[in-house]
C-alpha cells in the first residue's frame, strides 16, 4: 500500500531564510512524487513533480525538491522564503496505475 508522511504539522521560518518542508513515502515500485500548495479557501495548486531522471526537480515560484530513493524522501525546498509563501503544502505519491495518495499537509508560516 502507498503512504505519505509529512512529519511536521507546522514549519516557521523567517523571511529571507531557506525553507524545507519534509516528505517521506512508501510505495511499491518506482514512485511518481508531487508537491501542491493550498492558499486559504482555495484549491490545490501544482508546484512540481518527480517522474524520472535528475533527482533535483525545479518548479513554480522558486521551489525545488530533491528525490532521495535510499531515504524514500522528497523534501521541498526554497533558498529564500517570502511571506507570500505562507500556505498549506501537500506531498503526494502515485505508483504507476494507482491513485494519488496525499500526505496530511504542512502549514508553512514565513515571518516578516
Amino acid at each position: 500500500a502507498q503512504s505519505v508522511a509529512q512529519p511536521e504539522d507546522q514549519v516557521n521560518v523567517a523571511e529571507g531564510n531557506p525553507l524545507t518542508v519534509k516528505c517521506t513515502y512508501s510505495v511499491s515500485g518506482n514512485p511518481y512524487l508531487f508537491w501542491y500548495v493550498q492558499y486559504p479557501n482555495r484549491g490545490l495548486q501544482f508546484l512540481l513533480k518527480y517522474i524520472t531522471g535528475d533527482n533535483l526537480v525545479k518548479g513554480s515560484y522558486g521551489f525545488e525538491a530533491e528525490f532521495n530513493k535510499s531515504q524514500t524522501s522528497f523534501h521541498l525546498k526554497k533558498p529564500s522564503a517570502l511571506v507570500s509563501d505562507s500556505a498549506l503544502y501537500f506531498c503526494a505519491v502515485r505508483a504507476p496505475g494507482q491513485n494519488f495518495v496525499f500526505g496530511p499537509g504542512t502549514r508553512l508560516s514565513v515571518l516578516p
Binding site: L44, F46, F100, P104
Partner: protein, 113 residues
C-alpha cells in the same frame, strides 16, 4: 490554462437533505476525482471516474454517490446529508496516464447543520 470549476464555494444544508456538488473541467481530461479535505487528514479520495459513465470507489465512499454523464462533468451526491459530512470538497481532473498531475477546483465548503 486548465480550468476546473465547482458549482458552489460555500453551501449550508440541513441533516437529511440530498446535496449535489457539481464539477466541470474544460481540458478534455479522462480522469476526474472527488476528495474531501479535513484538518490533519489531508485529502481522502471519495470516488473517481476514468471515463464517461464509469465510476470507482475511493477510500471513503460511504454516504456518497457520483454521476458522470458527460466527459467534462462529474457530480458528487450526498444522498442524505449528515453532520459528519461537513467538510471541504475538492474536485480534480487529470489526463489519462499516471505521469500527469491533477488539476483542482477551488473547493466547496459544505456545512451540514
Amino acid at each position: 490554462d486548465v480550468k476546473v470549476t465547482q458549482s458552489s464555494r460555500y453551501l449550508v444544508k440541513r441533516t437529511g437533505e440530498k446535496v449535489f456538488l457539481e464539477c466541470v473541467q474544460d481540458m478534455d481530461h479522462e480522469n476526474m476525482f472527488w476528495y474531501r479535505q479535513d484538518p490533519g487528514l489531508g485529502l481522502r479520495l471519495i470516488y473517481f471516474s476514468y471515463d464517461v459513465k464509469m465510476k470507482e470507489k475511493g477510500d471513503i465512499p460511504e454516504g456518497y454517490s457520483v454521476s458522470r454523464e458527460k466527459k467534462e462533468r462529474f457530480s458528487l451526491i450526498l444522498e442524505s446529508a449528515s453532520t459528519n459530512q461537513t467538510s471541504m470538497y475538492l474536485c480534480a481532473s487529470s489526463p489519462g496516464t499516471s505521469l500527469y498531475e491533477q488539476y483542482f477546483g477551488p473547493g466547496t465548503r459544505l456545512t451540514v447543520t
